[in-house]
């Protein structure tokens, strides 16, 4: 197996990773940028080099902002390696990664994890049915393939991305049967105290209102304060109806596709596997790895930035990646502390503005309880098919945390390694025990963080 050495190794070529690479290269640091996707961009700018939709209005100008970031990767100090999945990081800053060519070890003086976010798991009865997928999945299909969901189409959930993706699909000519807004009553009031922060970022607020207006003008049916969401199957076990409660009545809509969304949460798979410190973020209802102001974690020389450090959006990710690169340049003696601080000023200012609106959005769009700790019948672990009721029963029998339920019912032991049940399992247990989620903790994640083939493992020992 080969082994290469760099000043900075970056995992993830989204806005955070790309901005870090650009800034580090400008300081003459040697950079390797690894991403498991075949092209740079991360989630927001996915397929930005070759977006599928011909009409640029469909994805909108915020998407095409990614073009400049990707262009800047063309730099002699940046080695970008697509199709490369990082599955381990050793104590001596050596990354283990696989690509179609085989496994490699990559050593770097400093490591940046910029692995982004994933959509929050949205458990409800029927969420495993074929025909149900996440809003983000539909957006990926639109950006990279120009494929749109089969219709009739219903969208359900909460948050700005739900509205954005509904608008993008509408602009792509897709007929939307209905948008079911599951934001519970009362969240507007909860968000109100955070409004002054939000007002510091008027353009973003304005964009959100614009999306609402766009959907309304399009005449798309919208139900508010939707509860009791349920996907119903036909005889072949495929989605054919969406049932829900709204306006004091139970409704049923025909559907070939149901897209669901309850916000995004940090992808903590690598940071967990490294045993880094994480804290529960009550407003965002998810875990954050602990970092200092420059993104450095509890392990010296290992940094995290962008949405994998805490959800703050694409613009914030870009600024946070820039800050990490400046600090790495200081640590590796390319910049003095004064120079670093001077160069960091614009990024810090923009970052503060992007972060200021978050508490407002987080309070407004916090998922309804029923999605965080679902009813007994709902499957929580899709891989091993474990329901919320089974988890509660295990708590009643004495299980105190996710690693114990894992041992009893295999929840979290399927191929997804807990990515899609970890948050929910911790929350169900905490609620049943009547203790804070922090006390219950999270699955113990071990490396490799992706299932490996025997060939890839054998490659390691060559």
């Amino acid at each position: 197996m080969n082994s290469d050495t760099y000043d900075l190794a970056i995992v993830g070529a989204g806005p955070a990773g790309m901005a870090a690479a650009r800034t580090a290269a400008a300081q003459d640091l040697s950079v390797v940028l690894l991403d498991e996707q075949p092209a740079p961009g991360g989630q927001i700018y996915r397929s930005i080099r070759r977006p599928a939709p011909e009409d640029r209005r469909i994805l909108g100008p915020d998407y095409y902002h990614g073009e400049t970031l990707v262009r800047d990767l063309d730099h002699s100090r940046i080695e970008y390696r697509p199709g490369t999945t990082v599955w381990a990081l050793d104590d001596d800053h050596t990354l283990c990664a696989s690509s179609p060519e085989g496994s490699t070890r990559i050593h770097a003086q400093r490591i940046l994890l910029a692995t982004g976010a994933q959509e929050r798991p949205v458990p409800f009865p029927g969420w495993t049915l074929p025909g149900v997928m996440t809003c983000g999945a539909a957006q990926i299909l639109l950006k990279s393939s120009g494929l749109v969901p089969s219709q009739p189409l219903v969208l359900a959930g909460s948050g700005p991305l739900l509205l954005l993706i509904a608008a993008q699909l509408h602009r792509a000519g897709v007929a939307i049967e209905a948008v079911l807004d599951t934001t519970p009553a009362g969240h507007q009031l909860d968000a109100l105290p955070h409004l002054p922060g939000a007002l510091r970022n008027l353009p973003l607020l304005w964009k959100g209102l614009g999306l609402l207006r766009e959907l309304k003008q399009a005449g798309i049916q919208r139900f508010a304060q939707v509860s009791d969401l349920r996907a119903l199957a036909n005889e072949e076990g495929r989605l054919h109806q969406v049932q829900f409660h709204a306006d004091n009545a139970t409704h049923r809509l025909p559907a070939q596709s149901l897209l669901v969304h309850q916000g995004v949460v940090p992808n903590v798979q690598l940071s967990r596997a490294l045993g880094l410190e994480h804290r529960w973020h009550e407003l965002q209802q998810c875990w954050h790895p602990v970092t200092n102001d420059w993104g450095e974690t509890s392990r010296e020389g290992v940094f995290i930035s962008g949405d994998s450090a805490g959800i703050a959006g694409a613009k914030a990710a870009e600024q946070a990646g820039t800050l990490v690169a400046l600090e790495v340049a200081r640590q590796l003696n390319r910049l003095s502390t004064t120079q670093r601080d001077e160069q960091a000023r614009p990024a810090l200012k923009d970052l503060a503005r992007e972060r200021a609106i978050r508490p407002f959005l987080d309070a407004l769009y916090q998922p309804a309880r029923s999605f965080l700790s679902p009813a007994d019948e709902t499957l929580v672990c899709r891989c091993e098919e474990v329901s919320a009721g089974e988890l509660r029963q295990m708590v009643d029998e004495g299980c105190r945390g996710p690693n114990q339920t894992k041992a009893f019912c295999r929840s979290g032991m399927g191929p997804c390694q807990g990515r899609l049940c970890g948050l929910t399992v911790s929350q169900v247990i905490a609620e049943r025990r009547g203790v804070p989620v922090d006390e219950v903790g999270y699955y113990q994640i071990r490396m490799p963080i992706k299932p490996l083939t025997l060939g890839e493992l054998a490659d390691l020992h060559k």
Binding site: P38, P130, V132, T453
Partner: protein, 111 residues
């Protein structure tokens, strides 16, 4: 075999097209599409059934998180379809029930 679950494609402008087979049926897809996208374009849904209860499933996240897109690709089982780009002539099949060869996970490595 048009069926209601096929994902239609919007105007995508100039692109290379690649022919693959989805459960034995030839279909043209865009170069750069993932195998999971090809399966959705072909309407092969459900695209797998679970090892535990044989429940029907289909791609869910399209970004490598959920492993619901496991497919048999060119004879290899348990391939993550959303993370695999199509190649000309690729043979994509539904993955049925129990995995015959388990993917190696950390749990297996420990035992």
């Amino acid at each position: 075999m048009p069926n209601a679950s096929e994902f239609p494609r919007i105007e995508t402008g100039a692109a290379e097209w690649v022919e693959v087979e989805v459960d034995g049926q030839p279909i043209q897809v865009r170069a750069g599409d993932s195998a999971a996208a090809a399966v959705l374009a072909a309407g092969l849904v459900p695209s797998r059934s679970t090892p535990v209860n044989n429940s029907p499933r289909a791609p869910y996240c399209m970004m490598g998180v959920c492993f619901e897109c496991l497919l048999e690709i060119d004879g290899t089982e348990n391939v993550q379809g959303c993370m695999t780009e199509v190649r000309p002539g690729m043979q994509i099949r539904r993955q049925q029930g129990a995995r015959h060869a388990e993917p190696v996970t950390h749990e297996d490595r420990q035992s």
